[in-house]
Symmetry: C2
DNA sequence: TTGTAGGCGTTATCAT
DNA sequence: ATGATAACGCCTACAA
C-alpha cells in the first residue's frame, strides 16, 4: 500500500492538540476556541483532509446513508426516481448509495447484500419481486425497506407505487369503450412491470370478448426494434386499430413505423405510450402516454424511510399509529395527439376518477407529477 | 434505535464458537472444518446475516470500493460509461459507488468529499474541471484518480478521454471542405464539453474566414427545445446549410424541426449529432453522429486505477515505468443519412486518420466502440 | 475549552 | 482447526 491517509491525528499533531479537539471542530465547532479552530481550519484546508465516516458507522451503527437498487441506469424512468430520492434525502442529510440489478433478481440480491455491508440505515427497492434470502437478510439486518414503482401484494416492509395492471386495464377498457375494436399490446424487455401491464390489457380484452394480441421481444427496448415488432404485428393482425405500448420508446418506434407505412395516427391507429417521458412530446403528433409520478415516488420512498427512522427514536409506544404503509399512487395522461380528442378526454376523465378514489396520504408530495409535462 | 443488527458474534454464539471462525468461514472457508462450516452456513442463511464491510475498511484502510462522479443520470451518455466502469470493476472484485454532480463544480466537490469519507480506494471523474480544494483533498487522502470523457490539459492524476474540441474542429472542417458554406452550432446545457465542442467549431469556421453562428440555451437538453432553437436560428440565419449539434437529443430535435419545416435533409441542411446514441438510429433519415467510446472509457478509467493499485503493492521500484497516463481516445462516425454520402465518407476517412495517429495503449479494450451501432 | 478512556465489528497476527 | 489479542479512526461519556 502507499502512504497512509491523513487522519485527525495528523491534523492534531500539526496543530499541537489532541484529535478529540479536531473531531469537535467538525461536529461542534462552537465548542472549540476560535484561535484553535482557525489553526485547525488552516491545516485541514491546506492538507485537504476529509474525515472518514467509517468509524462513525461502526460506533453508532448508523451511517446516515440509504441504499437504492434500480434495474437499469439506461432507462430514463429511473433517472427521475433517483432525482426524487436524492433531492429528498439530501434535504434530510442522508447520502444515497445507488446500485443496479439489470432486471435480475439474483443480481438484486447481490447488490442488496453489498449495500447492507455498508451498514445503510434504510433501503429503497424499485422491483416488485425479491429472493427469499433477500427478505431474510433485510429482516435480520433490521433495515427498513421502502418498495416503490410497483405496489407488491406483500411488501417486504413499506411501499408506495402504482398498480400497473390496473392502469393498463383502465386505459385499454376506455379505448374499447370509445370504439376501438382491435387494440394490440407491444412489450419488450420482459421485466415484471411489462408483464403486469400486459395482464391489464388482456383482462380488458377478455371482458370485451376480444382476443388479446401481443407482440414482444426479450431484447433491450430500442426504437428500431419497436418498429420491427409493429411491422410484424401488421402482418399477423392487419385490422389492428390501437397499439398499447409498454413504454414510450416502444411507442415512439411504433409511431415512426406507422408514419413510414403511411398509416394515419390516430385515425387508423391509436398509440398509447407508458411513463410520460419527454421524448413523447417531441414527436408529431405528440405521443399520448400513461404518465407515472416518478419523482414523487422517489420522494415518497425516502419519506417512508424517514418516518420510520423517526418513529424508532422515541421509545414511547403511544403515538406510533401502525398505519399500513402501502400507498397507492395515481397516474395521469400526457400529450394526446396519438389518440382522438374524444379518447383523450375519456382517458383523462378515467384517470381523474381513480385519482379521487385514492386516500390522500400526509406524506404525499404537493406536486405529484413533478417533472412531467402534461402538455 | 431499534434492535441492534445481527453480527458475527451472534452467529458465533448460536454455533458455539468464536467470531474469528465465522470470519474465516467468509474469507477462507477451506480453513474451517466442514462440520463447523456447515453449522455456520445454516445459521447465517437462516438469520440472513450479511457481514459488515465497515470494520475492514477501518482496519485495512482499503475498502475494495471505487467512487465515480458523473454529471447526470438523465444523460444516456453516462449510463454507458457507468456500464463500462461497473463491468470492469466487478471483474476485479471492486464495488462502485456512484454520485452525481448536476454539472456543478461545487456539487462535485461535495460529492467527492462524500466518497472520500467512505474510504474509497480510487475515484473516477467525468468532468474536466475541479475546484482547488478537490485537488488538494484527492492528494491528501492519497486516492488515485482517473479522469475520463474529456482529456484535461493537467490531469489530477491519470486520464483517458477524447479531445472534444479537436473532434468538432475536424468534423466542421470536413463539412466545409465538402462544400457547406454556413454551418451553425447548437448547444444546450452549457457544460464544459459543450463549450469545448463549440470552440472546435469556431476555430474551423474562422480558419475558413466564416463567422461562427451559435444558438444555445442554458435549459436542460430536450427535443422540443432543440426544435425551437432551430426555428429561431433559421430566422437569424436563413442560409444555414448544416447544423452541428452538441448532442444527439439536440440533433434529433433539429431533424424533426427540419422535417416539420419541409427542409430537405441532408440536401438543404446537413445535421451532425454527437455521442452516437441509439436514438439517432431510429430517425428517418438515420442521424449521422460523432460517436464517443463511452463503455470503453469507463473500462479504461477502472483499468488505470487497477494498474495503480497493483503498482503500489510491490515495493521494488524497478519495473514501475512511470508512463504518462494521459491517454487520448478516438471517435467514430455512426449512421450517416443526415449528411451526404460524400460527406459521410470524408468524415469517416478523417476519423480513421486520427485513429491511426494515436498510440495504442496496452490497457485499451479490444472492442473500442462497444455498445455503439455503427450502422 | 480541552483531554482521557473505551468501544463499535471485523481481521491480521500470533498462539494453541 | 480454532482461539486470543490488538488495531483500525472516530465519537460518546466523563474528567479536568
Amino acid at each position: 500500500m502507499g502512504k497512509p491517509r491523513v487522519t485527525m491525528q495528523d491534523i492534531a499533531n500539526k496543530v499541537g492538540i489532541t484529535k478529540m479537539t479536531v473531531s469537535r471542530y467538525f461536529n461542534a465547532p462552537h465548542n472549540v476556541a476560535k484561535a484553535t479552530g482557525d489553526k485547525i481550519r488552516q491545516t485541514v484546508d491546506f492538507l485537504g483532509f476529509v474525515p472518514s465516516r467509517v468509524p462513525a458507522m461502526l460506533a453508532q451503527s448508523s451511517s446516515k446513508a440509504i441504499g437504492a437498487v434500480i434495474p437499469s441506469f439506461s432507462n430514463m424512468v429511473f433517472a427521475d426516481v433517483i432525482r426524487g430520492i436524492e433531492e429528498e434525502a439530501q434535504t434530510h442529510d442522508y447520502t444515497v448509495l445507488i446500485m443496479h440489478s439489470g432486471y435480475n433478481m439474483e443480481a438484486e440480491e447481490r447488490q442488496i447484500a453489498e449495500l447492507l455491508s455498508y451498514q445503510i440505515d434504510g433501503i429503497i427497492l424499485t422491483e416488485p419481486q425479491h429472493t427469499d434470502l433477500t427478505r431474510r437478510r433485510l429482516n435480520a439486518m433490521n433495515v427498513p425497506c421502502a418498495e416503490t414503482m410497483s405496489l407488491p401484494a406483500q411488501p417486504i416492509d413499506m411501499a408506495a407505487g402504482l398498480d400497473h395492471r390496473e392502469a393498463m386495464y383502465r386505459c385499454t377498457k376506455t379505448l374499447l369503450e370509445q370504439g376501438r375494436r382491435q387494440p394490440i399490446y407491444i412489450g419488450v424487455r420482459m421485466d415484471i412491470r411489462t408483464w403486469q401491464r400486459q395482464e391489464g390489457y388482456e383482462q380488458a380484452m377478455r371482458e370485451y370478448g376480444l382476443t388479446p394480441f401481443i407482440m414482444d421481444s426479450c431484447e433491450r427496448s430500442t426504437f428500431t426494434m419497436a418498429g420491427s415488432l409493429m411491422r410484424e404485428a401488421l402482418k399477423s393482425c392487419p385490422k389492428l386499430d390501437a397499439v398499447l405500448c409498454t413504454n414510450d420508446d416502444v411507442a415512439v418506434g411504433t409511431l415512426l413505423a406507422c408514419q413510414a407505412l403511411k398509416l394515419r395516427v390516430p385515425e387508423d391507429t391509436a398509440i398509447l405510450g407508458y411513463n410520460g417521458l419527454n421524448i413523447g412530446s417531441a414527436t408529431v403528433p405528440q405521443l399520448c402516454s400513461i404518465a407515472t409520478p416518478r419523482v414523487a415516488m422517489g420522494r415518497m420512498a425516502v419519506r417512508l424511510l424517514l418516518e420510520r427512522f423517526n418513529a424508532q427514536e422515541p421509545a414511547d409506544a403511544s403515538a406510533a399509529a401502525p398505519q399500513p404503509r402501502r400507498i397507492k399512487l395515481p397516474y395521469c395522461i400526457t400529450g394526446g395527439q396519438t389518440v382522438t380528442a374524444a379518447e383523450l378526454a375519456a382517458l383523462r376523465a378515467d384517470a381523474d376518477l381513480l385519482r379521487h378514489e385514492l386516500t390522500p396520504d400526509p406524506l404525499l408530495p404537493e406536486q405529484l407529477f413533478e417533472g412531467i409535462e402534461l402538455l
